[in-house]
Assembly symmetry: C2
Homo-oligomer: 331 residues x 2
């Protein structure tokens, strides 16, 4: 990419009067291969010349580029952005670069990115909010180093996962609703091909029902994960005479949309309709400090994911991080 050519390993080797192998070993810190004196001499020279190895050559010889891919469903959601942020920091700290793909919950786009990332030889792929897709199924079968974030792998439980116990968290929200005697309750859940959305819904429903209450079909709304879809779902939900006393929203963005619609109907108060979100979106602090929600440790997630990519093959570990119910004014 440069007008004036970059320095190569060969240039440095020549300047130092040694072989390229030796320079390479010094640069990479290969142990027990280079004498201390040579090492120091070369390190000084490398610093003087400000030599930076070209990752392109290294990638070809290692058959792996110094990059990690992040596929994310929605770049504008501040919660996802925070996860991306934490991951980027952790990745960068290891000297790798982060490649970003935007999947928009679309299997076709996801597969396109998946294929591209593979052809780029990325060292790992973090799937934030994966959707089922043929390419993903194939990638999992090939045992590519994939870590699933927030949503579990749609194909078997053998894949690495970093997130929270959504089933339990959904149940906890239901428990809180019961404690407050909110009745009847409604839930606006996200796409059910997402383990996160499904488990939150199931956990919520199971606790409500095991307490002897029932969750009326009319009060279970299928929605998306954006402010807009939260608005629409709430419009549908409240387009009847009978209103729920409380709504468990798929995430905070949905809760923002729900609040908006409740406001239009003059129902935007905890005394009329209580709202519960999910994620503890960083925007809450400024824009919805009243929103009760489930705090997910989004910055830790990135660190954990990066950890999984560190030592060679990705262990099929499941990191379940702690979450926390934040009870605020809205519920």
């Amino acid at each position: 990419m440069n007008k004036q050519k970059n320095l190569t390993l060969a240039d440095v080797a020549q300047a130092a009067g040694v072989s390229t192998a030796t320079i390479s070993r010094v640069i990479n810190g290969t142990p027990n291969k280079v004498s201390d004196t040579t090492r120091e001499r070369i390190l000084k020279l490398v610093a003087e010349l400000d030599y930076q190895p070209m990752q392109i050559g290294r990638a070809l010889s290692r058959m792996e580029s110094a990059t990690v891919a992040l596929l994310t469903p929605d770049t504008r959601n501040a919660f996802y952005a925070s996860i991306a942020d934490g991951l980027e920091q952790a990745i960068t700290a290891t000297g790798k670069a982060m490649v970003l793909g935007h999947t928009r919950e679309d299997p076709v786009l996801q597969d396109r990115h998946l294929a591209q990332m593979q052809s780029h030889g990325v060292a790992g792929i973090a799937m934030l909010g994966a959707v089922p897709s043929p390419g993903l199924s194939k990638a999992v079968a090939r045992e590519l180093p994939i870590v699933f974030v927030n949503r579990k792998c749609p194909y078997g439980a053998g894949s690495a996962f970093v997130g929270i116990d959504n089933y339990r968290a959904g149940g906890d929200v239901a428990g809180h609703f019961l404690e407050r005697n909110y009745d009847p309750v409604a839930v606006i859940h996200g796409p059910l091909n997402s383990s996160a959305s499904l488990e939150r819904y199931e956990g919520f429903r199971d606790v409500i029902e095991s307490a002897g209450h029932s969750l009326s079909e009319r009060f279970v709304i299928h929605g998306g994960l954006t402010i807009e879809s939260g608005y629409r779902a709430t419009r549908d939900l409240l387009d009847h005479d009978e209103h729920p006393r409380a709504i468990f929203c798929a995430n905070d963005a949905v809760a923002y949309g729900a609040h908006h619609r409740c406001g239009e109907l003059g129902l935007a108060s905890p005394e009329r309709i209580a709202l519960f979100g999910f994620d503890d979106n960083p925007l809450n602090k400024w824009l919805a400090p009243w929103l009760s929600t489930v705090a997910v440790p989004c910055t830790d997630i990135g660190t954990r994911v990066a950890e999984l990519f560190l030592g060679g093959p990705v262990p099929p570990r499941q990191y379940l991080l702690p979450y926390e119910l934040k009870i605020r004014r809205s519920a």
Copy 2:
């Protein structure tokens, strides 16, 4: 990155009974080099085998990887995220991948990313909200293919730029304030090493002053570009007996923070203190539909930047895109 090895050009060549050169030419569509019959036969074979060239090999031979870097100051700001989004779409459409670096307005971080991107051999670098830094100065001198987005290059006017005429836009906001007879007016401006912030401020000030009004020093506040810094700046600004009648904020995030503080003081109405933002952040629609602001065409920006990277060397063009004053309730 795979367990089972990927197909290589050599594999396909063997299967087709031709040389790797021929396959390469077919894949790349090199004109006037392959007979139509051979081409078709090979294209079919490639499709059958589902062969994807490894970018790693291509990168080394071309001395450039099929990636474009985006350096952004703040991943959580929805306005920047929209620009990143538009760019990602345009980049992906050309078959390239986008590498993302988060600079946090920090020259050291920016230089680290800049060095990393160069060593990765990216085909181009989009600098969203660049800050002055030694590495950037060097990169510009070496004529790397850099496009400055939103903020102009801090080192000379020869670099490619995509954004709006911030000076004029700042003046337009001042014009609106004068028309409404807001007096006195205040401005919370962003970092003055950013051409965008500086020019907005200067344009605003020049119009105010050329109308015979003066901009009191106490009403010119230096701030950052986040909600939090907007909150703090407004706290300082309003910590006196004399309040401004209107505030021109560095961007919408700052305006959110300003609104928050005004609310705490019971001044959050256009009749008490009018607020003007900048960007038309996508969040406005849902969270601050009352905010008057300057709409910047953030999705177009990405497309333009990608265009600049397309045909080889980056022309030192300046794309000044149209902006639009959105007058809403807040001012």
